[in-house]
């Protein structure tokens, strides 16, 4: 089930919310966990059993690590065992096919294999399970004795399929007690509607343009059309990922939880390092906390730091997808970040902010070409069109058509991906002096966004989720 579906919006969510609010506090976690498992089983009836077994395994391993804390060597061995098993399962489901395909590409014989579909959300919940185990090992958190609480942490439906990846220590207390209030519920609803609008109105529309341009025949695409395609994908992925994160944060608030911010207007960044401080923040934090810092960075020489950065960025790229293009995409950012840190970062600061912003956006868009292309060859070919050699010309009727028919979409997308959109809404609301008028204005705006989103959902059949690939 996806949040941006009629079933979720008009059946699942209202039923769960009513049930959650009317039952006594001591049963709220039971309702939340049951809802999460039903939500997951809706799309993955077989893998929900794997999810439950995974919760059970990590629950026992957490207790085991906790029981061995007096002997650090034993505790460490227990942690290594548990983390290795989790990584092996993630590796099996996500990278087994990629490994076999890569082997078959170089071996003289074709090795047949049986492939399994990727369980939805496995890239998220395995990282969360590892976070729990490491936090327990580091004594930053107590081993969770209540399997209901741990089950809820690993499988909570607002963030199960698309994150944000919440660190265990940040949510440990909320699993025991949390506050419900109409104010928080209202804030949650605003977040949710904003995210829904981002996904359904902006991401799906930008995605349609991208799909159309991507499907054009080679040799019939102008430079401008190729850039429009790339920009459309940039908007699609941003609004889809940040929209889903906003919906997750909103749902969490409605149920009394607080999730950390996952996207903070990344396209307003004026450097690549700034972009990654604003893009998929929870993923970056997870890799910094559980991979980068344990690798020993900070106390090592420059060459070791460079190596560690490359390892981390290769893993981040690989987390996003199981192909060479994602690996390359990760390395591409690793190299850019190394260059900014050790080479041109200081001189960049002296440049005008417009130049820095153009530099950042150009590199981000080039990065998206690796991200959306099925192979490195296809990426190079597409870039060939973007930079001229493979293009049918600089501008053609198609490019003109896209600009004239989609200018409103791009204008809205630019406003929505910068703080201008939010400031504009605030300006309208704050222009009313009376408190009731402000509330009425806010209601009109957000109900309007909700209704437009529903209209898009009903009329637009394509509503897939890029996150299902991760």
């Amino acid at each position: 089930m996806v949040f941006s579906s009629i079933t979720f919006l008009f059946i699942f969510l209202p039923v769960i919310l009513v049930l959650y609010y009317i039952i006594p506090d001591k049963f709220k976690n039971v309702v939340m966990l049951s809802a999460s498992l039903i939500f997951y089983a809706w799309g993955e009836p077989l893998y929900v059993i794997f999810l439950i077994l995974s919760i059970l395994f990590n629950y026992v391993c957490g207790l085991d690590i906790g029981a061995k804390q007096k002997d650090l060597r034993k505790a460490k061995l227990s942690l290594v065992f548990a983390v290795t098993v989790n990584i092996c399962f993630l590796g099996f489901f996500k990278y087994y096919g990629f490994l076999m395909d890569s082997l078959n590409a170089v071996l003289p014989v074709n090795i047949p294999y049986r492939e399994l579909p990727l369980p939805i959300g496995i890239s998220i919940y395995i990282l969360q399970a590892i976070s729990y185990l490491v936090d327990v090992y580091r004594r930053e958190a107590e081993p969770q004795k209540n399997i209901l609480h741990l089950g809820l942490y690993i499988s909570m439906f607002p963030q199960l399929t698309a994150g944000p990846i919440v660190r265990y220590i940040h949510i440990e207390e909320q699993l025991k007690r949390r506050t419900l209030s109409t104010r928080r519920f209202g804030q949650g609803a605003v977040y949710f509607i904003t995210g829904l609008g981002k996904k359904v109105i902006l991401a799906n529309s930008a995605g349609n343009v991208f799909e159309h341009i991507w499907g054009l025949q080679a040799g019939h695409v102008s430079v401008l059309t190729a850039w429009i395609g790339c920009i459309s994908f940039g908007f699609q992925i941003y609004f889809e990922l940040s929209g889903y994160s906003d919906m997750a944060m909103g749902l969490a608030k409605m149920f009394g939880f607080e999730f950390p911010k996952n996207f903070d207007y990344p396209y307003t960044a004026s450097s690549i390092s700034g972009f990654w401080k604003r893009w998929h923040i929870s993923l970056g934090n997870w890799f910094r906390e559980y991979v980068y810092i344990p690798l020993g960075t900070g106390h090592q020489g420059r060459s070791r730091q460079v190596l560690n950065l490359l390892i981390v960025w290769m893993l981040i790229g690989f987390w996003y997808g199981d192909s060479w293009t994602f690996l390359f995409w990760g390395l591409y950012y690793g190299i850019l970040l190394i260059m900014e840190r050790f080479w041109w970062g200081r001189s960049m600061k002296r440049m005008p902010s417009v130049v820095r912003h153009i530099y950042t956006m150009a590199l981000i868009l080039i990065g998206w070409v690796f991200f959306f292309s099925p192979s490195l060859g296809a990426a190079v070919k597409y870039m060939g069109v973007m930079f001229g050699p493979g293009a049918s010309g600089f501008i053609d009727k198609q490019a003109f058509f896209y600009v004239t028919t989609h200018w409103l979409l791009y204008l809205t997308a630019i406003l929505g991906s910068s703080t201008a959109g939010y400031r504009g809404i605030r300006y309208i609301i704050d222009s009313f002096e009376d408190g009731r008028a402000k509330k009425a204005a806010a209601s009109v705006i957000y109900i309007g966004i909700f209704l437009i989103s529903i209209a898009y959902l009903v009329t637009e059949p394509s509503n897939s989720l890029l996150y299902f690939k991760f």
């Binding site: 799309g43 026992v60 391993c61 207790l63 047949p112 049986r114 399994l116 897939s464 989720l465």
Partner: protein, 154 residues
């Protein structure tokens, strides 16, 4: 105790994954090979191979979005018989595809409800199977036979 329990749980998980591989995994054979396996069993007197425009018309899907598509429909507008085989390019497409197929079956039920109990029964007994990147659907009196041919060809 926890030491023992974690190995027990791990064993259960591995056992479950093995069951998933045996009963739900797809095949890496080329699409044409699977398609051929299914086509060999199809009753071509009642069903004819449709072009990709039919896929767009009946399912709202673009064949180019998938790694492989095979669609057989009935020549008669009074029959609901249909066989569909699709290989998705990535796992993300499968959820949406399953929804599309379910909607197609529901839409056909609406067309034939209260009008042809025989066709309604075929729709009620439609065979839908997802194995790895393959989705198979058959609406036919021989649906089970077609499904068996599909499973064998994987």
């Amino acid at each position: 105790m926890t030491e023992f329990l974690k190995y027990v749980t791990l064993t259960v998980i591995i056992g479950y994954v093995v069951l998933l591989i045996v009963f739900t995994s797809g095949s890496t054979k080329p699409f044409q090979e699977i398609e051929q396996g299914v086509e060999n069993s199809i009753d071509t007197e009642k069903l004819e191979k449709s072009d990709m425009q039919a896929l767009k018309r009946y399912y709202g899907l673009n064949a180019a979005d998938y790694a492989g598509v095979m669609l057989y429909t009935s020549e008669s507008s009074m029959s609901t018989e249909e066989v569909l085989l699709i290989k998705v390019k990535d796992d993300g497409q499968m959820q949406q595809l399953m929804g599309t197929v379910e909607r197609r079956i529901e839409s056909r039920k609406n067309d034939f409800e209260g009008y042809s109990p025989k066709q309604m029964q075929l729709l009620e007994e439609a065979q839908v199977s997802v194995r790895g990147k393959y989705l198979f659907m058959a609406i036919s009196p021989r649906a089970e036979e077609y499904k068996a041919a599909y499973m064998k060809s994987l």
